[in-house]
């Protein structure tokens, strides 16, 4: 019998993937007021994968815990995660205004370590990055802090019931890499891992009855002190307008001019 899984799925509320972000006037950050927010798309993959691990059977799953640290509205993404199939949620309320800015990856990783220890998780599935700051560090730092094996950018996750081992396939430049590790471990998810389900109405209703605990940073007693200062945020340079050529010869001449051939 393999050990039952206690999965932790950290998720983040970010500006919706389909919204074009605008830099604020002071060039200190991206404008967030009045902008549509949703769950970080990579985190949807983590939630989906956790639920599929349970649905596939093979290994028993005792608990799927969705966790977020963020402003009051971040509770919405926990409800979404629970509607998708997470069992319960923990929301550490962090108000960037009052708490000295957004958490940094290291702060989040320390917080997650404390959660893992308290909740006795043996598997953490995170998105490989969050699309707002694109740092792509939290999973790796958490693995370091916990001293657990990690498999990043997963495109397939398989459990072996007999050996209790996890096989993770990841896409790398020009091919795939397959890793095997024993629990406990960290997995970060990549786009091709799965196609997240819609939140069905019956499950949205059920999710309302699931437990959502509100906590504060003080409850975990970790140092989330900021080490980075954002100097300036700017838009990418506007795209240079293209030119038209009349024929193939014109194109070749142009490419030569540009030194491209």
């Amino acid at each position: 019998m393999s050990t039952p899984l206690r999965i932790l799925v950290p998720i983040k509320r970010v500006i919706d993937y389909a919204v074009k972000p605008r830099v604020n006037k002071a060039q200190t950050a991206v404008e967030t007021a009045g902008v549509k927010h949703s769950m970080n798309p990579f985190d949807e993959l983590s939630v989906e994968e956790s639920v599929r691990i349970r649905e596939r059977g093979g290994v028993p799953v005792d608990d799927i815990l969705a966790f977020t640290a963020g402003p009051a509205k971040a509770a919405e993404v926990l409800r979404t995660a629970m509607a998708m199939g997470a069992d319960r949620g923990i929301h550490v309320e962090v108000d960037p205004e009052k708490d000295g800015g957004e958490l940094e990856p290291l702060g989040v990783a320390k917080l997650l370590k404390a959660v893992v220890e308290k909740e006795k998780n043996n598997l953490v599935i995170l998105g490989k990055q969050s699309i707002d700051d694109d740092a792509g560090q939290t999973g790796q730092m958490l693995a370091g802090l916990l001293g657990w094996p990690q498999a990043t950018q997963a495109s397939e996750v398989k459990f072996s019931a007999e050996s209790g081992e996890v096989t993770v396939t990841k896409e790398v430049d020009g091919g795939v890499e397959t890793l095997r590790a024993k629990l406990p471990m960290i997995i970060t998810t990549d786009l091709r891992l799965n196609e997240p389900r819609y939140a069905s109405l019956p499950n949205i209703m059920k999710a309302k009855k699931k437990k959502l605990e509100k906590k504060t940073l003080a409850d975990y007693d970790v140092d989330v002190g900021r080490r980075l200062k954002t100097i300036k945020v700017t838009d990418p340079p506007p795209r240079q307008g293209g030119g038209k050529v009349d024929d193939v010869d014109g194109m070749i001449a142009k490419l030569k001019d540009l030194g491209a051939i």
């Binding site: 919706d16 993937y17 389909a18 919204v19 009045g34 549509k36 949703s38 769950m39 798309p41 979404t80 509607a83 196609e195 819609y198 939140a199 069905s200 109405l201 019956p202 949205i204 209703m205």
Partner: protein, 512 residues
């Protein structure tokens, strides 16, 4: 359809009138002979001098310009083909006025053309009429953020205008699949309905004024920016939906609402059309002012989309009917709360069997694709017989059932390649009682046509429905107008046409 299949009946001022409901065979093209003249190179010379610039005239009279003319001579459905030899692209209302006056004086026929996305062949010349394109008249003249009133040239592209408004927290009161190409002038001339009609109402209400060049060349400046103006007949309404038959619209003034901050989309599975009606009634009750779309899709429409687009459907099981509900409002928390109450109500009262709620913008768009993708997916097998009709809501879907029954008993439907009909599909703007009855076929087939027409038109006539809810008449529906309008109404329409266009130069052979 081959050209030989069309029977051409040329109606002259003296010929007896046909009653389309009684005497029309299925494929007949009713052509009213207007006595307009042929184009000569002298005419072309006049236009070249008038418009000055090279790019303003596409001249196929004095030289071969067929490649450049192609895009103007062929419609979006690739169903109609015109033979124009001259396209004029004026830049100002004054130029339009001079073009039209000259055409009227010289008895030259004219077809106004916007984005050429019309679905009834209205923007395509029947013979070699001159095309007057609004493409180069594309400035936004003014926008008042306080009142939301926009004044713009007729040739502005809908999507461009909507983007402009988005930057000013407003929205154009019309949205449709062709927004990237269609022009405001074309939208107003077809009185386009689209996806937001349920919420913002028809252009008959939102258009506050128009600037039109009437067939004698006079510029009628009715570009009012007043919401209220009860001083005489509201003649601008005549031009909304006139499909270019009594003048060329050169400018419009339109009331634009505040852009909604919060948009939600739910996709529901239902057991029957009766349940869909209940769901609609409850949606109006619970969601009233934030309800912005209520769309119906039948089971087969979604199965065909799944088969063609090879996508995973939003719901686990299969359902006979699906509805897509959209809410748009100013406060997300309020909207979420209302929508949740509604969804809980319809779910716990067994009005709906299942459903999903989009959690992010990507899901919003992908749920919409199950509705918006239907027309394209139906084209997959070959031709599609399309009927865009208005029917009183309780019987809206009955037409689909009856048509399916009819084609089944004629032995024409099936999965077998030898059978012409793939299926009978119903979907549409349920919130506006507007059904799209579509019959995707493996090939156009006379027997299918005979079963469909005049059956469909007669069916609609019996229920006092409309044979063309939003796409208009153009050339495609002209023969069938008698099923939806009385002789008296038709006569009054013809009187108007004669009054404003005595020479019959504006978009001839079409409409009425």
């Amino acid at each position: 359809m081959d050209i030989e299949d069309i029977q051409i009946y040329v109606e002259t001022p003296d010929s007896p009138r046909l009653d389309p409901t009684k005497q029309m065979p299925s494929w007949i093209l009713l052509i009213t002979f207007m006595g307009t003249r042929k184009l000569s190179s002298n005419h072309v010379q006049y236009f070249k001098q008038l418009l000055g610039s090279e790019s303003a005239v596409i001249d196929g009279v004095s030289k071969d310009a067929s490649a450049d003319l192609e895009a103007f001579n062929c419609d979006w459905l690739r169903k109609y083909r015109g033979h124009t030899k001259l396209v004029l692209r004026p830049k100002s209302t004054e130029e339009v006025s001079k073009i039209v006056k000259y055409c009227n004086d010289n008895m030259l026929a004219v077809v106004p053309q916007g984005g050429n996305t019309g679905l009834v062949g209205g923007s395509i010349p029947v013979f070699d009429e001159i095309i007057v394109s609004t493409a180069r008249m594309n400035s936004i003249r003014s926008f008042d953020e306080m009142s939301g009133i926009l004044v713009a040239d007729a040739g502005c592209i809908l999507e461009v205008v909507d983007q402009y408004l988005a930057g000013r927290s407003h929205i154009f009161p019309l949205d449709l699949g062709a927004k990237g190409s269609c022009h405001l002038g074309g939208n107003v001339s077809t009185n386009a309905g689209g996806l937001r009609l349920l919420r913002y109402g028809s252009l008959h209400g939102n258009v506050l004024g128009v600037e039109v060049v009437v067939p004698d060349g006079t510029i009628v400046d009715e570009l009012s920016t007043l919401r209220k103006n009860n001083t005489g007949y509201d003649l601008k309404q005549l031009f909304i939906g006139a499909e270019g038959t009594i003048g060329i619209i050169t400018g419009v003034s339109i009331l634009c609402p505040q852009r909604p901050q919060a948009v939600n989309v739910a996709y529901l599975g239902l057991e029957s059309f009766g349940k869909a009606q209940l769901a609609f009634r409850e949606a109006k009750r619970h969601l009233s002012e934030i309800l912005s779309a209520f769309e119906l899709m039948d089971g087969i429409s979604q199965e065909l989309v799944e088969r063609v687009a090879k996508k995973k459907p939003p719901l686990e099981g299969k359902h006979p009917f699906y509805c897509l509900i959209e809410t748009s409002g100013s406060n997300k928390e309020h909207d979420d709360e209302k929508l949740e109450k509604y969804l809980e109500f319809v779910l716990s009262n067994d009005i709906i069997s299942d459903g999903v709620l989009a959690q992010d913008e990507t899901q919003v768009q992908s749920l919409w694709s199950w509705r918006e993708g239907i027309p394209e997916c139906l084209n997959h097998w070959g031709g599609v017989y399309k009927y865009d009709v208005s029917i009183p809501l309780p019987e809206l879907y009955q037409l689909v059932d009856d048509t399916r029954e009819r084609l089944s008993s004629a032995g024409l439907i099936g999965d077998d390649e030898s059978l012409p009909v793939v299926g009978v599909v119903g979907y549409g703007h349920m919130g506006d009682s507007n059904l799209h009855l579509n019959v995707p076929t493996r090939r156009f087939d006379r027997d299918v046509e005979k079963e469909l027409e005049p059956f469909v038109y007669e069916w609609i006539q019996k229920r006092n429905g409309s044979i063309s809810a939003e796409h208009g008449l153009g050339i495609a529906k002209k023969p069938f107008i008698g099923y939806s309008r009385s002789r008296k109404m038709l006569d009054m329409m013809k009187d108007i046409k004669k009054l404003y266009d005595p020479n019959g130069i504006m978009n001839p052979y079409k409409y009425i």
